[in-house]
Symmetry: C2
Subunit: 240 residues, 2 copies
C-alpha cells in the first residue's frame, strides 16, 4: 500500500521492521495486539502540525516513518527547536499521561506515517498491563534524562560555538557516523533552524560554519557536512 505522499505504509506494528530497535515498539506480542486495536494510522505530508503547545492532550503520536520538529515558542514570537524526532519515537506521551497540556509544538518536516492513540484508550491500555505501564515509565525516564542533558547544554555552554559543536557531534553520532574517520552529517535544517536549536542568531550560525570550514574542521559537499577534524570539534564542545 502506498500513501498519498508517495511512501510505503507500514501495515502493522507486529511486522514493523523498526520493532527490534525502537523503544516503544518493543512490547510483548499480546500488548502489541491490543495496541493494534486502539491505534489510528495516518499519513501526513511535510509541514503538518500534529499538535500545538498548550493544547489539552488528545493522545499520543508514534512516528512510524519520517521526522517531526518539536519546538516551543515565546509570547514575543521567538521560537526554539527542542529536537527533531525520528521514526520509533513517541510524541505527546508525558502530556497524555499527566493530563497537562502539550509542552511543545510538533510539525512534520517530511512526509510521515504516524500512529495516533486517543488519550482514554491509551490510559486504559496502560492501566491494564503493568508491563506496558512500566515500559512507559522507563521511557519517560529516558526522555527526562535527555531533556536534562539539553538543559546542561543550554545552561552551561555559554558560547554559541560550543553549542554548535555539540550539536554537530550529536548529529554525527545519531547517524552512526561518529566512529568513521570523517563522519558525514546530512543537513536537514536551514541555518535559521539550527540557530533556533542552539539559541543563537542565523548570522552567527553562518559565520561559525564558515569559520569551521576555513579551519579545515568541516567541509561541505552540497547539503552534507564532512567532519574532517572530529578531535577539534570535541575540543570546542567540551572546553570554553
Amino acid at each position: 500500500m502506498i500513501s498519498p505522499y508517495g511512501m510505503e505504509i507500514v501495515e502493522s506494528c507486529l511486522t514493523c521492521k523498526f520493532r527490534a530497535d525502537r523503544v516503544f515498539c518493543d512490547l510483548p506480542q499480546s500488548a502489541l495486539q491490543t495496541f493494534e486495536e486502539i491505534k489510528y494510522t495516518t499519513a501526513y505530508p511535510e509541514g503538518a502540525v500534529l499538535f500545538v503547545e498548550h493544547q489539552a492532550p488528545r493522545g499520543i503520536f508514534l512516528i512510524c516513518r519520517g521526522s517531526v520538529k518539536l519546538s516551543v515558542s515565546a509570547p514575543n514570537g521567538k521560537t526554539m527547536i527542542v529536537k527533531i524526532a525520528e521514526a520509533g519515537e513517541v510524541l505527546g506521551l508525558s502530556a497524555t499521561v499527566s493530563g497537562r497540556s502539550y509542552e511543545v509544538t510538533a510539525e512534520t518536516i517530511d512526509p510521515c506515517q504516524i500512529n495516533f492513540v486517543k488519550r482514554e484508550d491509551f490510559l486504559r491500555f496502560l492501566k491494564n498491563d503493568v508491563n506496558v505501564c512500566f515500559k512507559v515509565a522507563e521511557h519517560l525516564s529516558e526522555k527526562y534524562h535527555n531533556v536534562c542533558n539539553e538543559i546542561r547544554c543550554l545552561g552551561l555552554s555559554h558560547s554559541a560555538a560550543e553549542k554548535l559543536a555539540k550539536l554537530l557531534l550529536e548529529w554525527s553520532s545519531k547517524s552512526g557516523e561518529s566512529n568513521k574517520a570523517e563522519p558525514r552529517v546530512k543537513l536537514r535544517l536551514t541555518h535559521e533552524e539550527i540557530a533556533q536549536m542552539i539559541g543563537t542568531s542565523r548570522e552567527t550560525v553562518t559565520r561559525l560554519l564558515a569559520d569551521l570550514k576555513k579551519h579545515q574542521i568541516l567541509n561541505s559537499r552540497g547539503s552534507t557536512l564532512v567532519i574532517r577534524n572530529q578531535a577539534a570539534l570535541r575540543e570546542m564542545a567540551n572546553n570554553n
Copy 2:
C-alpha cells in the same frame, strides 16, 4: 523523636502530615504499607551530598523534611542549579527507573529527613502494582513537563533581567504569596547561587536586584524580599 540535627522525625509515611498534598506520598494505604517496609529513613545535616551526577543509580530519595539543591556541572567547573527540591519531592526517580546515571547532583541545603529506597526494591514495588506504576509514570510526566518549561525559560528568554524576574515570580507563587498585594520571598540562596540558577554572573544578579530596588519594584527586609510591584515584574518576565 528528635534527630541529631535538631528536627522532629516523621515516623511513618502513613501518618505524615504532607501526605495529602504531596505527589508521591499520596498512595493507597496498601501500597504505602509496602513502601514503609522497603524504605530507610535517614537524617542528614546541611551540605550532605545524596548523590552525584553520572553515578549509577542506587535508588530513590524521598524528601520528608528540608530542601535539596539539584545541580549539574560541566567539565570546566561551571555549575548550574537546576532546582531547589522541597519536602514531598522524589529525587533520582528517573535514573532509578531507567537505570541510567543520575542526571544531577543532589546536596541538602538545610537539615533534612529523607527516605531512601534501594533500586531493586523500588522496581519490584513498581512492578507489583499497576497503580503505583501509573502514579510514577504520571509523576515522571510532570517532571518532564517542568523541565520543558525550564528549557523554554533558558532558551527563549535572552536577557538576564527577564530570567531573574521569572525566578522571583516562581518563588513567590511557590510560597503561596503571589496572590497577596506585596508578596514576600525569603532568599535562601546567595547571589552566586541565583546566578547559577539563571545562567548569569554573580555581579549581574547583584546589579539587577539593586536596580529593581531602585525602581521600587523590590524592597528588602533582611534576607526577605518584598515584591512591591508585581505587575512590573510580570512585565519584565513576559516581554523583551
